[in-house]
């Protein structure tokens, strides 16, 4: 079965300069990810998986090589286009959930849609849909700081889904969750996989070693894929 290429990574490298000290975090990475695939980047902290994720999302600029998202070089686009790409194609779930603590769940989920200039009604409809999928609709009006870890995680998922992106990036999604909530997260992940989303997860959690659905595990060591 020939599937559409979602993400193409070519000779991607990232070097950090700290004074005279040079640290190569990523070394000449090449990777092709097709639509609907679930990729699990496995490795200890410092292996470069988080950096790889942020380069894919265009959050950071590479030192060499490029990332193509559906053929668009996200790393070399002016900010206006990169942001648009990010807003429409990519949903992100962060390790620390990264919610705005003083806003409600509803507002948190709405944030990515504000620059689109949609009408309030259409906006709210999309937010409601995302809240349903992530199973957090009942907490809609709670302030984020009052939520439990699992609820925060599901809010973060809703936020990642609200723009209906094709790609979901997760950075250590279960690091701050207990086992039950982690399993719940994996269940949601499975439903996303069935919806045909391309999913990339950076993690070192052994729970992801034996998923019930098809996934590709890529171990990373010292900025290289093994």
């Amino acid at each position: 079965m020939m599937r559409k290429i979602m993400i193409q990574i070519e000779n991607l490298s990232k070097t950090f300069y700290q004074g005279s000290h040079v640290a190569a975090v990523l070394k000449e990475i090449n990777l092709t990810i097709h639509q609907g695939e679930c990729i699990i980047l496995k490795g200890v902290s410092g292996s470069g998986k988080t950096t790889l994720l942020s380069l894919i999302a265009g959050l950071d600029k590479p030192s060499g090589g490029k990332v193509l998202i559906e053929g668009e070089p996200i790393s070399k686009l002016p900010d206006l286009f990169a942001s648009e790409l990010r807003a429409k194609k990519i949903g992100m779930i962060f390790q620390h959930f990264n919610l705005f603590e003083h806003l409600t769940v509803n507002e948190n989920v709405m944030l990515p849609l504000i620059p689109t200039g949609l009408k309030m009604k259409a906006l709210q409809q999309r937010v409601d849909e995302a809240l349903q999928v992530a199973n957090i609709h009942h907490k809609k009006d709670s302030v984020a700081s009052r939520l439990s870890g699992g609820e925060k995680q599901r809010t973060a998922i809703a936020r990642a889904l609200v723009a209906n992106p094709d790609i979901i990036l997760c950075d250590e999604p279960t690091a701050n969750l207990d086992r039950d909530n982690s399993l719940l997260f994996i269940a949601i992940l499975e439903s996303l996989h069935r919806m045909g989303k391309t999913i990339i997860i950076a993690t070192h959690d052994p729970l992801f070693d034996h998923l019930d659905f098809e996934s590709i595990i890529i171990p990373m060591v010292d900025g290289e894929m093994v």
Partner: protein
């Protein structure tokens, strides 16, 4: 705070200018005096008759006025002598006279006094009359008839208005002399021509028109407002510096939040727009608040302290009632003076936060 002071000063100055304009508007258009050696000397009364012969001149009124020094406290009153039976070229005076019972007024020595005068005399136990000492060394008792309305205090505060003969006696003028002669010219386009004609009447005549008086007052108030502007410039630049520093010290949480927004798909433009909206709202609210407080301070409370600076040099306690004026120019001036430095000061810090790398969200 700064905005409040600034708007108070500008509002005050514009209100003063407005009341001045009002007072001047009703003043006679021209004043004629005789000058000798650069100083004004008593003007012959006959000049009034020659003036009447010039076409276009109306309401010729001889006036007698002068300062009467109140010995013990080094204060002085402005005495104005008016011929109460004639039509007045000063419209305010005319209106005032229409109201008073002339017969009663002229029956004995009576005068109209400004509020300042009244208060001062009261403080010195002259309840309803005052004993003037004429240059001949004779005492002259004058009763107070009425107090002038306080809206005209800017000019009338230290005034005493009395019949002409009485004023002549107190100030020591001779029968055929007056201090000056005023007249009106209905058509403003003819002012220059009339002015030339009158000047040609006598070699020692001096003609002053209302606009010249106005201009000198205008410059005075602009100057006092301007002095404050210079002071505010210093305060304002300090304020801008503080703002700059304050905004530059962006807390790490805000940096992270903005990074997060960028990670969620906001572009730099979106973040900039958001931050500037925030700033504009802040500027606007503080602007409205400042104006409001200043308005209350100046027009409701009567601007304590600041008033002294603007009206300084008065020899009598002056209780001016400021007429509320909010004119568009002053509002724009204040806005420009406040908003431009404010936004200019925060512009660079706002930019530097807005371009925060979205990778901040990952840390």
């Amino acid at each position: 705070m700064i905005l409040f002071l600034l708007s108070s000063v500008l509002l005050l100055s514009s209100s003063l200018r407005f009341s001045l304009q009002q007072t001047l508007d009703v003043q006679p258009d021209f004043v004629v005096t005789r000058t000798q050696g650069g100083a004004s000397t008593p003007t012959p009364l006959i000049w009034g008759d020659t003036l009447l012969e010039i076409h276009g001149i109306s309401k010729v009124t001889p006036r007698i006025y002068g300062r009467y020094f109140f010995k013990p406290k080094e204060h002085s009153f402005l005495i104005i002598g008016v011929d109460f039976l004639e039509e007045q070229s000063n419209e305010n005076l005319q209106k005032l006279m229409d109201k008073i019972a002339l017969k009663a007024f002229l029956s004995t020595n009576h005068m109209l006094v400004g509020e300042g005068v009244k208060a001062y005399l009261n403080a010195h136990f002259y309840k309803d009359s005052y004993q003037f000492l004429t240059p001949q060394g004779v005492f002259e008792k004058v009763n107070i008839f009425k107090v002038l309305p306080s809206q005209t205090n800017l000019i009338s505060n230290d005034m005493m208005i009395m019949p002409m003969d009485l004023a002549r006696k107190i100030l020591g003028y001779e029968e055929e002399h007056v201090s000056d002669i005023t007249f009106n010219v209905a058509n403003p386009d003819e002012w220059n021509m009339i002015s030339d004609k009158v000047s040609a009447l006598h070699y020692d005549i001096r003609v002053v028109n209302k606009n010249e008086v106005h201009k000198s007052y205008e410059n005075l108030y602009n100057y006092k407002g301007g002095l404050f502007l210079v002071l505010f410039l210093i305060v304002l630049s300090t304020f801008a510096l503080i703002l700059y520093q304050r905004y530059s010290m962006v807390y790490s949480t805000e940096r992270r939040q903005l990074g997060l927004l960028r990670a969620l798909g906001w572009s730099i433009n979106d973040v900039l727009k958001w931050k500037f909206m925030e700033t504009f709202v802040l500027v606007f609210i503080s602007y409205i608040l400042g104006i409001l407080i200043a308005y209350i301070y100046v027009f409701v409370l009567g601007a304590p302290l600041l008033k002294e600076v603007f009206l300084g040099g008065e020899n009598l306690q002056n209780n001016v009632t400021f007429i509320p004026v909010l004119d568009f120019t002053v509002l724009t001036s204040i806005f420009l003076l406040y908003a431009i430095p404010f936004i200019a000061a925060v512009l660079i810090p706002v930019w530097s936060v807005s371009v925060t790398d979205p990778k901040e969200a990952m840390l």
